[in-house]
Each structure stands twice: as C-alpha cells, then as structure tokens.
Symmetry: D2
Subunit: 329 residues, 4 copies
C-alpha cells in the first residue's frame, strides 16, 4: 500500500505516521517524495482509515482489500455443483416466477421453464418488499411448494433468504439467495458463511464492485466458498430503464475473482422486451449464466409486458445463449 502525503508534509508528521502504522503490526518504508509504502497483510488495513489522516493525499493498494475471493488467491474458476448443474462451468439459466403464488403456479412454471431450457428454478417465498403493505410472500408455504417443484422437475431451486432465523426452513433449498437490499447485512452474510450451502449474492443497487466482492469475502472468510455473484443493475440517473445493467462489472469481475458471475436482466431493466438482448450481452461479457423471471398466466393476457418473459421467449433466449456460449465460454 502506497501512501502519498500532501506537498507540505513535514518529516516529523511522517515519522508519527510511521510509528502509528507500525503499532498496528505493519512495516513502513518511507520512500521520499512524500510517499511511504506500508508492507504486510494490507488486506487487513482499512484504506479509508489511512485516507482519513489529515496530511494524506492518496492511498493506493498494491494488492486488493479482499483475499479469498480474488483471482490471486485462486487462479482457476470456482465451479459450484448443484444437482447436475456445474455453475461457473456450464451455461446456467435460472428461471421462475418472482413470487411463488401457489403450488400449482410454481409447478406449472417450473415445468415450462425446464422444457424451455432452464437448469435451475427460482421463486420467492419470503419477499423483502419496499412497502410493509405489499405482499410479503407465502413464507414457509412458498418454500414447501418450491421444494415440490424441485421434486417434480428434478431441477435444483434457488430462493431468497432474508434472515438467518429461517435457515432451517431452507434445508431443501439448493441455493440461498441474498437480495440486493441485504448485500451488506453482515449479520446474515456471516451466518451463511457458516453453512455449506451455495449462496447467490446479488449486488446492491447502490453498491460498488469492490463492495460486492467484500460482501462475498464475508461469506468466504467464515468458511463457505460456494458463492455465486449476481449483477442485477445499479442506480443511475437514467430513468427509461428501471436500473442500469452494468455489464462492465460482469467483465471485470471475471478478472478480479474466481467466483462464478451471473446476471439478472429482468430486474435490471424492468421490461420483458429487453430481457433477451441483455441476457445475450451479459453472457457475451463473461457471465456464466442468467437469472430471469418467467410466467405463464393465460388468464391475464395483459401482463405480457411485465419484466417476466413467457416460456416461448425463454426458449428463444436459451437457444440464442447456447449459440453465443460456444464463442465466449
């Protein structure tokens, strides 16, 4: 870690700084030109803390602040086996409804999704909703129906968990999802790090790429290495799309970490008509798969423009993804 001091910093100040940093267990080497190098396991050292010193102009890490999630820590891609699916190696399509609404609905959609090429079934049971007055999901019943859909289709299932209190209920859920709003709920992350369940960690809508990696590090540092990262759009000034899918993040994450990366184009754009091009874009940028919403509700034809796609569109998307996958995997 290289520290650059302000132009007028005197030697005494740098001396005190050196003494302080050494007291934290690191080596310091004053380099001249108002710079110093801090040596040791600097991932343990908070850049913000160093930056906060009055005469520090800038701090540059020579190694990343995350450790176990980094490519340097582990060169080869992490592959997570869930059922017969190899996430991080094979193209993975996770599909299903936003919320589990009934046993019939989830089984119907799961079956249709499987037929259309999905390899993992998604469905929300405990839903973190912006409004306390919105439907908060079917809860334990939702989990039960999702497990039935798993038995019916033979496909693994993923569902969001919003509190460590529910860990027992999720015993038969294959992948535990941490939603964007809980990406920095460290209490939850630590609890998941103590399990051996695959975790799908969604990027917060206001979270940087580094913050996402640090949240994954929380899980790995507790012992659970099975983390899948998910880009799902960030908040920007653009209002035509609900969020802005950050495909650069997908491409960059593939360089920074060995963990599998997937993208959720449905939530990112909020428009079913953009789901296909964004799915292709995410996989072209390096994603190992996508997660999207699919629906089958003939009774309400008017919901066809939702962010959810129909099974036939899902089929079209998985077919197109397979074509592209051969050139980018």
């Amino acid at each position: 870690m290289i520290v650059v001091f302000k132009k007028d910093t005197d030697a005494a100040y740098i001396g005190s700084f050196e003494k302080y940093i050494k007291s934290l267990g690191f080596d310091v080497c004053v380099l001249g030109g108002n710079t110093a190098e801090i040596k040791g396991d600097t991932a343990l050292l908070d850049t913000e803390k160093i930056k906060s010193f009055g005469m520090v102009e800038s701090v540059t890490r020579l190694s990343s602040p995350y450790k176990k999630v980094s490519r340097e820590y582990r060169k080869e891609d992490t592959v997570i086996k869930v059922g017969d699916v190899l996430i991080g190696k094979d193209l993975t399509v996770m599909a299903g409804p936003c919320s589990v609404e009934s046993e019939k609905q989830i089984i119907e959609i799961a079956s249709a999704a499987k037929k259309a090429g999905a390899s993992v079934i998604r469905g929300g049971a405990f839903k973190p909703r912006t409004s306390p007055y919105s439907f908060q999901g079917l809860g334990k019943d939702g989990i039960k129906y999702l497990v039935k859909a798993k038995q019916e289709t033979g496909l693994p299932v993923v569902s969001e968990i919003i509190s460590k209190d529910y860990l027992d209920e999720y015993a038969d859920i294959d992948i535990l999802q941490v939603g964007a709003r809980n990406m920095q709920n460290y209490d939850l992350l630590k609890a998941l790090g103590k399990t051996d369940k695959p975790v799908l960690l969604k990027r917060g809508m206001g979270a940087s790429i580094e913050e996402l990696l640090m949240s994954a590090e929380y899980i790995l540092s507790e012992g659970n290495g099975k983390v899948i990262l998910c880009e799902r759009g960030i908040k920007t000034f653009e209002t035509m799309t609900r969020n802005t899918l950050d495909v650069s993040a997908v491409a960059l994450l593939k360089k920074l970490t060995h963990l599998p990366v997937v993208a959720d184009p449905s939530h990112a754009c909020g428009m079913s008509s953009l789901v296909k091009p964004l799915s292709l874009a995410a996989v072209s940028a390096g994603a190992s798969g996508i997660m999207l919403e699919v629906h089958t509700n003939p009774e309400y034809a008017f919901s066809d423009g939702a962010q959810a796609v129909k099974p036939e569109e899902l089929k079209e998307i998985t077919d197109a993804l397979k074509n592209i996958w051969q050139f980018v995997k």
Copy 2:
C-alpha cells in the same frame, strides 16, 4: 391512482385490467382517453406491479405509498423526547467518536462534546464494516462504556444496532441507530417497530427519498412512532467528496413527513474541513439537528484532517448553528 394505458390499448384489455384490479379489492373507474382511476386504500397497492402490465404506460399516485409517516396522516411535527432533549423541536447536536475504543476515550470525548454544545452522545460498538478484516467494534464492552459515558455526562446516547439479536444489550441505549447498509433490512426494521425505543434511521447511500420513507413506514406500521430520519449523503459520480449530501432531501422530507430529520455531514463528505459549512447548510434546509464525529487524540496530531472534528471546532459549529437556528426553526 391514475393509470395511463398505451395509445393502442383496446377496450377488452382495459376491461380485463379492471376486473383484475377489482379482484384485489379496489374500485376502478375508466376515464376515457386510455386512462383509468383506481380508488381505495392505494397505499396497499404496489405501483411497480401495475406498471408491469404490458399495456400500462404510466402510473401516478394521487396519494403517497406511505401512510403513517406522511404529513397528511399527521399534520404537526413529531417531537421525540430523549432525556431532556426534544428532537424535532430543539436544535439537536449528536456528537461523539465513530467507534468506542475504550472507556477512557468515550468518556473523554463525550465530556468534551457536551462542553462544546452537544446534546446527544454517539459512539459505535457493533460496527458494520465493508471488510470482514476491519475492526468490528468492541461489541458489548463498547455498549457498556457508552452507558458509562451517559452516566458521566447525563446526556442520552445513540448507537448503531446491526441485529435484532442484540436488543437486550441495548436496554440502556437511548436511541437505536439503523445504519445506511441496513436501511432495507426489513427483518431488523420490523423488530425495532415492536419496541418503544427511538430509532434513528439512516438513508442508504443508494436509497431514494421514497425508499427511506417506506423503511420508516415499516417501523411505524409495527407500532413504534419514534423514528428520526437521517440524511447522510448519497452515491453520485462526484469523487472529490466521499458522498453527496442531499440537502434537497432534507428540505423535501420536512414537507412529506412529520418525523424529525437530521443530517450527518461527517460521513457524507469525509472531510473535516467541510463539516461546518455542511452542518449549517443542512440546518438551513430544515434539519432539526446534525450528527457528527468528534475526536480528541493529542497523541496523533496527524489525524486532524479526518472527517472527525476537534472539540473546539464542534464548539464553533454549535455556536454558528444556534445563530442560524433562530431564523430557520
């Protein structure tokens, strides 16, 4: 709630829409011009859900999606009494260190802060840190020392709570703070809503004003009306300041809600030299007070440029705030 359909929407579609909305327990009145009005307690209706219908062009609420936090629900300002302090009525200055580091440190800073005009003492014991390798606070000991500082100074104390598991430990803490990263941790919000403790709810760095109000609504909807909102800077493209203090949010919140609003200029800018002007700006825009970091560490003179201010600067700030307060309260 007014729904505008796309130009080419046919009557049959609008008919199905009407039927569906009625099935949810609302009245629908088709207005012509491809618009319809949904009547009833529309705070219970999710705008996003309506927007997701294929032929819906836009949805406009005629009443807000939050209820109990709104000015319409309660005209007069909510005033929260904590010790002798009337938050929402009197100018409130919450000051203290970022983290409680020792009994001596917190008592020393709390005493200095009191002398400099602070009316509430802040200090972190359980710290949600971006990195799992950063100091996570003194935990229960931190809480114990903070309570000692409270006894020593006679001032109420505020500290961040990161899990409902710790509610018992916080029995003697006067105000429970929900940090920016947990603003949408609804599991925690609901638990706090079931207590009768004042809650200081910080705006997430990527959270909209409406999302902040909805998170407050979670607490009020569970029965706890003692919520203080805190603007602490949002993420923008600007990199010279750590975050961008959104004083428009302060001014707007005063119109939208009866809850007290404070601002945290220390975290927002990350530079002690901007703490004074931003404190004045926040109070001028309508904030009932500020929350800031103060330190006293003669041994490390080099930390004078941190986001924390010295007691003498705090004195200067509280004096200036009092001068301005008379014209804006």
Copy 3:
C-alpha cells in the same frame, strides 16, 4: 399527453389550464378523476413546462417528444452508406488512434486496423480536452493526415468536429463526429443538420437516452437524416471502470429509433482488457458496430494496458464479433 392533477385541484383551476393549453394551439379533453388529455402534435409541447404548473401531479406522453428519429416515424432501419460500408446493416468496426499524431502514425495504424478487420478509420485532429493545457490535437494537419490514411487504405474516415467554423476543413472526412461534451451544443447540431454529411453523435456522459434522441432530432429536423448514435458510457458512482457502458441503452434505442447505434467500449471502460467483452456485449445487445482505439507503438511497450488495443487484439475482436453477428443481426 395525459395530465394528472393533484387530488384537491378544483374545476376552476382545470378550466384555466384548459384555456391556456388551447391558447397554445392544442385541444384539451377533461377526463374526470382529475385528469385531462392534451391532443394535437404534442411533440411540440414541453413536458417540463406542463409539469411546472402548481397543481399538476404528473404528465404522461402517449407519443414520444421526438418525431423524425422515432420508429413510429420510420419503421425500417436507416442504413447509411459511407464508401462501401452500410452502417446500420453490416457489422461496422471503426478503429484507429485517439489522436492523429503524425502522418506516419495514422497511416500505420489505419493499415493495421484495416488488416485486422476495421471498416472505418477513426482519428482525432481537433481534440476537446478537459484541460486547456493538454494537447489539443494537430488540427488541420491532423485532418490532412487522416485523409491520406483514407486514400492509402480506401476506408472511410470519421473525426470529431468541435465547431461549425471548421466545416470546410472536414470536406473530405466521411463522418463528422459530435463528441460527448458537445452533445447538447445545439448551435453545432443545427449547423450539421444543414449539411448532408453522416454524423456520429456520441451520448453525453450525463445525458439520458431521451436527451440523446432529442439531440439527434435537432439534426434531423434541419434536414440531415444521416445520424449514427453512439453509446460510450455514462457517469455513475462506480469508480473501477471510467464510465459505465449502458448496454440497456443500446437495446432500448434499437426499439425507439430507426437510426443505427454503435458503441464505444474503449472510452467507456478505460481499460484495454475489457474492450473485447464489452464489444461483444454491445453487439449482442443490438449495436450495429463498435468504435474503438487501436495503437501500434513498439517503442513504448508500457502503453499496452491503455484503453487502446493492439492490432492483433482488434483482429481477435472482429473475428469474435463476426461469429456473434450471425446470431444477433
């Protein structure tokens, strides 16, 4: 255009509103439920102006604020012929150096780019630089050298124009580029609209998709329909990449407008290692081509990490793009 008034708006107010809008030459139809529809050529009506009225809650357009650039105005894709290149129909790769530095340099790079699959040569001569002290380009000499590169390679050339004063100098330049900083320099846009030259209009780093389309409309409304839109990254809170390439904008623009859309991944990310995945992502999302920086400078091996790619990387990118193009065109 549907106008929704605030809940308590009285009939007299709506009456005055109606009268005023009629005075502007539009029809108004009051719909009940505090809504009104404005009819006529509403692209001529400024939404912001209507929104600014005190009792207006929201304004929804039923048709877009742009006209000639819209898909409704022209269903089929606009194809712009430049030399032998059909932009908007064929996969187009525009490549070259950021700045023309010498005759030798531009010819060398142009030749290498052609060999690597580029179909248009780019190069800056008049450079809008953030600092007045930075190199502002070779000016007229740069244009001269670029034209030589055109003659040498037989490929058309594109170069940024920063003032209408230079239109004569650009007589032999095939495509006039409007840079991101000048996207809303309407004086320049109007002047370009009066020429019959193809214009490549870059999206401003802080400009919305709608603002980009409105800027294009300035050019079309003056009579020049040969506009190519270019997504080049927007400003967001993310700092690991220079800007955030908005591929959703690419996908959405293909639906909203008949104009060709290309993407500039080099400027967007600022890292050569991301140029390939972002190029693939942009084309997968619907872009008709990409614009990127390429360099050949064996003498300074250390510049290999710049946003510019080497000719051999360009070759790899164009090959990969061709593979994907067959599935997405």
Copy 4:
C-alpha cells in the same frame, strides 16, 4: 505527481517510462517501492494519459491540474464588480424570468425583483432547449428588452450566450452566462476568455467539480479572470427532485478556488417550494449568492407551483439570506 506502478513492474519498464516522461519535458525521480515522482509544471500533464499506461496502478497529483483558478495561484477572493454589485464580496441575488417573453413582462418582473431585493436581473433570450420544437427564446429582441429592463431598474443583467457568433449582440449585457449544456463547449469558452466580460459558468449536470474548474481555467487561460461559478444541481438516481443540488461542491469550491461561487436552486430542484430552504443552504455552505427564477403572472394562477417564485416569496428569501449572511460571510 506520484505514479504508483503495479506490483510486478520490472525496472526496465520503469526505465522506459522515465525516458518517455523526460521526453515530454518533465523530471522523473524513481522512489522505490514501485513509485516515481514526476516533477515540473504537472498541470500541463494529463493524469488520464499517465493512467493509461499498462503498468500504472495509480496517479496522484501533488498540485491541482488547474492553475489560474486555484487558491494557491491567488489567495484572496476574486471580487467582480458589475454595476454597483461586488460579486464575491456582497451577497448577490440574481433574479428574473427563465425566458424573456415581452418587453412588458421583463420590465415588470425586473422591477418587482428589484423591489424584493434582487441585485442582478436574469432573463433568457437565446434558449438552448432539449427539443428543437420548444420555444428557443426571443433572440435578439429578448436581448433588447433585457437591456431596457436594465435601463429601467438600473440593475446589471445576465443572460445566457449559446454561440460566440452572438458576442456583438451581447455588448450591453453585463454578465455572459454559459449554460450547463455548454460547460464543455471549449470553442465558446475560449472565445469568452478573449473578452473582458464577466462570465457566469454553470456546472454541467453530469460534470465533476474538477471538470467545472478546468472549464473555468479555459476562460482564465485566455486572459479573462472574471468568472463566476454556478452550482445548479447534478444528475443522480433521485427522481423526487429534478436534480440534486450539490452544496458540498459549493463548500469545496470555496476552498479550491478564489472565484466567486453562486447557486441556482430553482433549476436544481424544479419546485418553488424548495427554493427558499435551498437558497439558505447554499449561502450557508459558502455561496456568495443565488440565482433564481421569479415570475408575476396573475392571469395564470395555476403556475404558482412552478420552479419560479413570486416576488413576495423572493422578498422573504432575500430577507432570510441577509439574516444568515452576517454569520457566514
């Protein structure tokens, strides 16, 4: 300027780098620890260029990239005399309509604004509008009427100039405004730098604080030191306010530059009800004044909620500002 190289950079690479930088006319001092210091007039050196080298991890300036606008270049505040107004020393309130609509309208508003405490009259004649179909201002007639308002009230006037072609028309305009959309129209900035007219330079909605200062530097570097900076809100994810007024930018600019800084709360928030609190906030944060929209149109009572305030509100704002000014000037 301190350059930090990546961890594995070898000596030969640093040697080539050194040679290259020296070829540009700067001194280089290799410091060890993979760092080097570049010495000389580094404001002439583009940070982006250095960052673009493959093995460069980070670049830190020890002096700012701007020169003549910086506090180091000139310690004391620049005060710009316009008529009897001392901008940068006295509290300045610039008020008037968004657009000049008629001679009667501008004289009426200007007179009312003067009475309400305004010291400078604003009014748009050439309007840069997002849509080519929106009213583009009265042009030369608008300028003529504005000059009449100046004669009538005795107050100086400010108006936006959108092209250097119009410089002659603006001979009697006291302050030339560069709008947010033209902040990086360097052709225009250079032309204004060659005049001796005060220039009010608005921050672009997507422009960083540093970019604003660099644009001002363009004007100063051409010889014109009379520049007033104007913060007018930046684009963020928040949609409840039109833009987000960045008061931290106001506070920070006062430290970085000697130029006067004003704020435009009307455009920033787009709501007249927030104009007062934001005006107070901006001046409390260090602004030397504000620029706002005022209107008098009894015939259309419904426009009272526009971003423009009524003369009586303007009076209230100027009175409140005077009260606060004594404590913050």
